[in-house]
Symmetry: C2
Subunit: 452 residues, 2 copies
Amino acid sequence: MEKSDVIVIGGSAAGLTAALTSRRHYPEKEVLLVRREQQVLIPCGIPYIFGTVGSPEKNLIPDALLEKNGIRLLVTDATYVDRTAKRVDTPKGQLQFDRLVLATGSLPAMPPIPGFDLDGVFTIRKEIDYLRNLQQRLAGCRDVVIIGGGFIGIEFADEVRKMAGERTLSIVEALSHCLVLAYDDEFSTVMESHLRERGIHLYTSSRVDRILGDKTVKGLQLADGTKLKADAVILGIGAVANVELAKTAGLRLGPTGGIQVDRTMQTSDGNIFACGDCAEKTSFFGGRPSPLKLASIATLEARIAGANLFGLRRESPGTVGAWSTAVGDLALGTAGLTERMARDRGYQTVATTVEGPNRHPGSMPGACNTRLKLVFEAGTHVLLGGQIQGDAAIGEVVNLLSACVQQRMTVEDIAMFQAGTHPALTASPIAYALVNAAELAIQKMRGAARGA
Amino acid sequence: MEKSDVIVIGGSAAGLTAALTSRRHYPEKEVLLVRREQQVLIPCGIPYIFGTVGSPEKNLIPDALLEKNGIRLLVTDATYVDRTAKRVDTPKGQLQFDRLVLATGSLPAMPPIPGFDLDGVFTIRKEIDYLRNLQQRLAGCRDVVIIGGGFIGIEFADEVRKMAGERTLSIVEALSHCLVLAYDDEFSTVMESHLRERGIHLYTSSRVDRILGDKTVKGLQLADGTKLKADAVILGIGAVANVELAKTAGLRLGPTGGIQVDRTMQTSDGNIFACGDCAEKTSFFGGRPSPLKLASIATLEARIAGANLFGLRRESPGTVGAWSTAVGDLALGTAGLTERMARDRGYQTVATTVEGPNRHPGSMPGACNTRLKLVFEAGTHVLLGGQIQGDAAIGEVVNLLSACVQQRMTVEDIAMFQAGTHPALTASPIAYALVNAAELAIQKMRGAARGA
């Protein structure tokens, strides 16, 4: 029986990063990565297969990283984990491990909607053949409906819109707005207007009653009776942890159905770690279970798991939740809690918003309007979260916001932030949004203190 | 005699921000801003007047901010400050103050080069008429030489290059590379190649012996005997604090010639504060005098001075030095110390560099190669500085780096950073540069510890 110091099961963002990290931190240990897929898709890039990038083959994680770092690869199914024997069973034989990392990812969530099993109803699976088939199928469709107005749903809609041929595109979202789990309404509505301008139909506050059709999908009916024509329906309503292997191995599961892990990413078995979409997450804010599943979270967890395999070195402070989404030239980013989320959880908040151009003077090339909202805890003045609207650079503003949240910076720390600015790259130093939003919040807090 | 609670002298970034901040923090106080200029130029935007933006009138700080915030404006010269009488003299009358903020800025540095007073030799003054005249003069020039290869010099060169008409453009830099006070050589050389590709001639490690000509400039002679033809010479070798008013008022000056201030921006007179280019600066690293003069530093100091006028609330932790520069589609950013600066100051350093595309997959639109270098202190593992090369988004990456430096984050903090990523906006979460550079540094530190 072949033996490895470390076996990682799963080859996407979490598995690959866990393997890389264990090689970095324990260069003397042998690492074997076991995965099902011959080639691995970049998960966040999947929507772009349909428009911008063009095909699944152009959206792959290169295996060069494995080779370069001396990580062995076995493409096969892991069918069973025997924890006592420290053994993984596969169709290609049994594998012995000293430490095991489960990075088995997630599967598309299936809603309890009648008709979801009709031909022409698709989920967003991370499988090349499935997506290639979906792409071919969509090419011949006239009416495409996407269920779910989260970031996957809206990015998918806009990319399918870019495909050759004429078709109507609709998004059906059960909540009151798109992106409602990551943005306050004033940001969601900007994206909604932008999608409508691009010809995408939006049905918010709309529950799907049933998907219509005999064998093949013909449309869907909303709870209010509205019927939508559809020759393809795509479900983009989220993902559930893939825990089959963990469950049969007798590992404990967590409150949201992921593999239970502590802050070191250890499962209920001290020799087995889990990371990524398959692992239970807790929030940076209060430590409750967090529903977020993002590749960036997966890689952080993998860096923790990989570093801890032969000696605990790292602990997760919980998931901040920093991410962005883009449709055309409009990008939105979020880090930490929105105002609504913060209030729902019981925080007293002070929020401020500033708008302005991202160049100075505003006539410099590439100028666009940006909007930044900061949410502080009213008593301690600690930053709970920020949201930003702008151009491509907001992908990095989100990381600045994430740093401020992770460091639990106060409104005063942020007002004293030493920003770098440049006419061709950023807002003016007089009007740098992050700092100005903090100064406004200080004014607001002082006003509130006086009023009290 | 007219009386104001607060008088601010100077209307550029520091003066305006000090006035705004004092209104925000002390809304009941009357603020009068006294400035010489009818209209105020955006200082960092001055190079862009010549090419991208087109004229000084398109590069102004709007006075709307003053009006909106109830700040009175008096356009005149402040000629004398009587500290005992708490009085400012101007040609338009005497003004009484309770607190005074000096934000008198800087003047172009004049090198001790024979011929600097010839007709056709220009400095970069923040005056509309002067710049308009320079623009007209340059329009008729065939050979323009810029002395100084710092960010002002290179941005100026590229903008003059964009003017209508044919002309040769040369930069003469005394040090071994352009931008050497902000970047390590491997970044400077990238910018140098980029400038050469754009047709700009570079003379590095080249001292100017004399500027040639009778009444009008005809050329210049370098220390090695090389002669350069020139019908215009622009001096871009830095700026010196404008301290005339402070000096005659009897305020103490600092070691680099700026107005001496403590960490609260108080001068040697407790009722008088100073901020911006006219004020002495200390470094975030060790507290020595810092030569940096940037609008972003000026505004931070102004936020400190303005908040402290009637009760000390804020202290400067010293200047980190975060800023960026851009020529065409190449942008460079820096925050904190370079490897060379850190070693020169006596730090033991561990530095790592990572390169990669800023999109995932790399075929996404807008992808370019980025390079990030991090410099850590070897014993404490605290981040001392970072440098980044890339596209416009690096204007905000610099601020992420600045946050990490200001928070004195360690290599482990950064390896555990929770980044947000997006295919259309950033690098992949597996290869996010900041985090990967930290992981590499940890490997390096561990290797060094083993070797020891």
